[in-house]
């Protein structure tokens, strides 16, 4: 996918100017954390589950060579063909080659953020394939010529009315009302049903690859992923090598965490495990199955100080709890992965330069780490990325010099207290009567939206010293 992360501030300003979209995001930001909270509190010992999964994921990453080799062996024995793709371009070429070898024309695709990352749809279409996304959100976004705004709900930025107009324009189905969301879902079901039945190739992602038996786990609600996995004669699973888990019961633990964290459900409608192609005794299923394992910088991340990021299970919980994501929406981030996980992953998967604004799009509130099912220290990673940007002089010089000046003063307590004392006293005298400032030098970003409150007259340290002295007397 083409990256626009460098325009984060402009994207965010545009997103904030759309009042109805802001209102829609506010509702989702209120609603999705409540759903998660209800599911988590019903579970029982969710903290123990989270802790177990964190340790198990870390153990897997620490021994990824062992588990990856085991998965490859088992999956090959199951009849799969395993492909390794070092880059996004490699993955796209491998998939197109498979399609062309089978003389394929139609591809039915389940939701896969990895293929969003590689821009697979465009690549296959340029190669002559008709590619249709079948997850409802992805279908809506693809038809609109847009990109997903959320890794779990790709079209949550669109209103019912916008989707209605889109369907009326794009589906040649005559006069109809499409008044309800149910009508819209029903129409997409009808339109996509033929595509499922006619597709030559199905492409899906994977929520987990199980080393001990070579199975791939697929967790969905709509059933489209399973139709892609079962109906076409060729199945291609596009995923990354960090999805590997040791045992089936570990995938089960992920399943418990993932659905509660993602949608607040105790379980999704469908959880499936696929081993490989149809066997002689099978009634149905694909005749050929391929698993394409993308590296795409994952091995670099594994070797870096950010390896814990590979524990991410793509639940989207950090997005749902992030005040920046809620305010600016997913498109502002300008690439596949938005929100806190995206602000860490995007610089690591692309470049620090192209993603300069993303690690700074953070209030350091810490909610993302609190709700992360894999307990990834996202705020720490964002801070470390900001530090790296500063060291590499990617951060603007004015900002770096300002920080350097602040650090110089802040590490000299007497000077710091004297200067802040003067500043607070001055601001109190100038703004005390009105109680605030409507304009303030160097703080126009604040005062353009709200008044800056006038200080009470004394710094905390000065009050503390005064009170301590009076207590001693």
């Amino acid at each position: 996918m083409e990256q626009h992360s460098q325009h984060f501030k402009e994207n965010a300003a545009r997103a904030l100017a759309d009042a109805s979209a802001v209102a829609q995001r506010d509702i989702l930001a209120l609603f999705t954390p409540l759903m998660r909270e209800a599911a988590v509190s019903e579970f029982g010992d969710f903290a123990a589950l989270r802790d177990h999964v964190k340790k198990m994921r870390q153990h897997t990453l620490d021994n990824l060579d062992y588990y990856l080799a085991r998965f490859e062996l088992e999956a090959t024995n199951n009849g799969n063909r395993i492909h390794y793709a070092e880059t996004a371009e490699d993955m796209n070429s491998i998939v197109l080659d498979i399609c062309q070898q089978h003389g394929a024309r139609k591809v039915a695709k389940g939701k896969s953020m990895v293929t969003e990352e590689t821009g697979l749809n465009d690549f296959l279409q340029r190669g002559g394939m008709e590619v249709l996304e079948t997850d409802l959100g992805e279908y809506i976004v693809q038809q609109a010529g847009e990109t997903p705004s959320h890794i779990v709900g790709p079209a949550l930025h669109k209103t019912q009315q916008q989707i209605r107009e889109q369907f009326l324009e794009n589906h040649d189905l005559g006069e109809r009302d499409l008044e309800s969301i149910g009508d819209l879902v029903g129409e997409a079901r009808t339109v996509l049903r033929d595509h499922f039945l006619e597709a030559d190739v199905g492409i899906i992602g994977s929520n987990a690859l199980i080393a001990e038996n070579g199975y791939s786990m697929l967790v969905t609600n709509e059933g489209n992923g399973d139709l892609c996995a079962n109906l076409p004669s060729v199945l291609i699973i596009c995923t990354t090598l960090d999805r590997v888990l040791p045992r089936a019961e570990d995938a089960t633990a992920i399943q418990r965490l993932l659905v509660r964290s993602a949608t607040g459900q105790p379980q999704t409608c469908y959880t499936s495990f696929y081993s490989g192609p149809r066997r002689a005794q099978d009634a149905d299923g694909p005749l050929e199955t391929h698993i394409v394992l993308l590296d795409g910088q994952r091995t670099d991340i594994l070797a870096s100080d950010y390896s814990e990021m590979l524990r991410c299970i793509r639940c989207g919980s950090c997005l749902n709890h992030c005040p920046i994501f809620a305010a600016t929406g997913g498109h502002s981030y300008g690439w596949v992965y938005p929100g806190p996980m995206g602000s860490v992953l995007t610089p690591l998967l692309t470049s620090l330069e192209a993603s300069e604004a993303l690690p700074n799009a953070c209030t350091s509130c810490g909610r993302c780490e609190e709700v992360c099912p894999s307990a990834i220290p996202l705020p720490d990673m964002l801070r470390d990325l900001r530090h790296e940007q500063s060291v590499q002089k990617i951060t603007p010089a004015s900002w770096r010099n300002g920080l350097r000046l602040h650090a110089w003063i802040a590490t000299r307590p007497r000077l710091y207290q004297a200067l802040t004392g003067i500043g607070i006293s001055l601001m109190h005298r100038l703004g005390g009567k009105k109680g605030g400032f409507s304009k303030l030098p160097l703080a126009s970003g604040w005062t353009s939206k709200r008044d800056f409150p006038a200080p009470q007259g004394e710094t905390f340290m000065r009050q503390y010293r005064r009170r301590s002295q009076s207590n001693e007397r």
């Binding site: 340790k55 153990h59 090598l241 099978d282 009634a283």
Partner: protein, 233 residues
Amino acid sequence: MNDDSRSRIMSKVRGSCAGNEAAVIDQAREALGSAPSAALPHTDTCIAFMTNVLRNQGTLDVAPDRSAAVKMIAQYVYQHYRSHRLVAGNDPRLAAMPWRDGGVLPRFGELEAGEQIALSYAQWGVAETGATVFLSGKHNPSRNNFLPEHHVVLVDADSLLPDLETLWQRVNASMAQGDRPRGINCVAGPSSTGDIEGQIVYGAHGPRAWHVVLLGEVSAEQSDTARALHAGE
């Protein structure tokens, strides 16, 4: 497989790993223990299963014997389609059902486009998730689980399992005997989507309705308790 890509990727992965012996890795993994499972709505596995089926937006019938099950299925099919036709997988257990008792006319095989109702015999039911589990194979085409408008599922009361760990113990035991199914499908509800404004709609791409017929010794008290637990939400 592109051997060069594989070698380079594996080499980079190895460079970040400790390179421990298999026995050491296995020992470390076992030391992590097992994950806790979800709290069940009731200590009785059967009640917990039925409660979760209802919570998953499934509909539920309890049949004491096969004749009663056939009549209930007939009633369900007639109620929705004014017909007695359905498609059932080639499962010998389905073939042996007394279909005449309900006047049902099953066609055995794979569901074709345009056919509305599929009947599957679940291998297990899982109380923790309220899911019915199917192993694809000669007797159980996977498409029958995903393609129909209505998915009717028979599950034996004595095949209910408490949690997902027990499910995998059974699956692993079956695999140890050389039977590694192509697909293991855990179905826990009619298909759904919340992709438009977060509003949940049933009948996305898979079945619009999921009807479970629990076959075996289930008391009226168990059934009532499950319905009360569900209604009390």
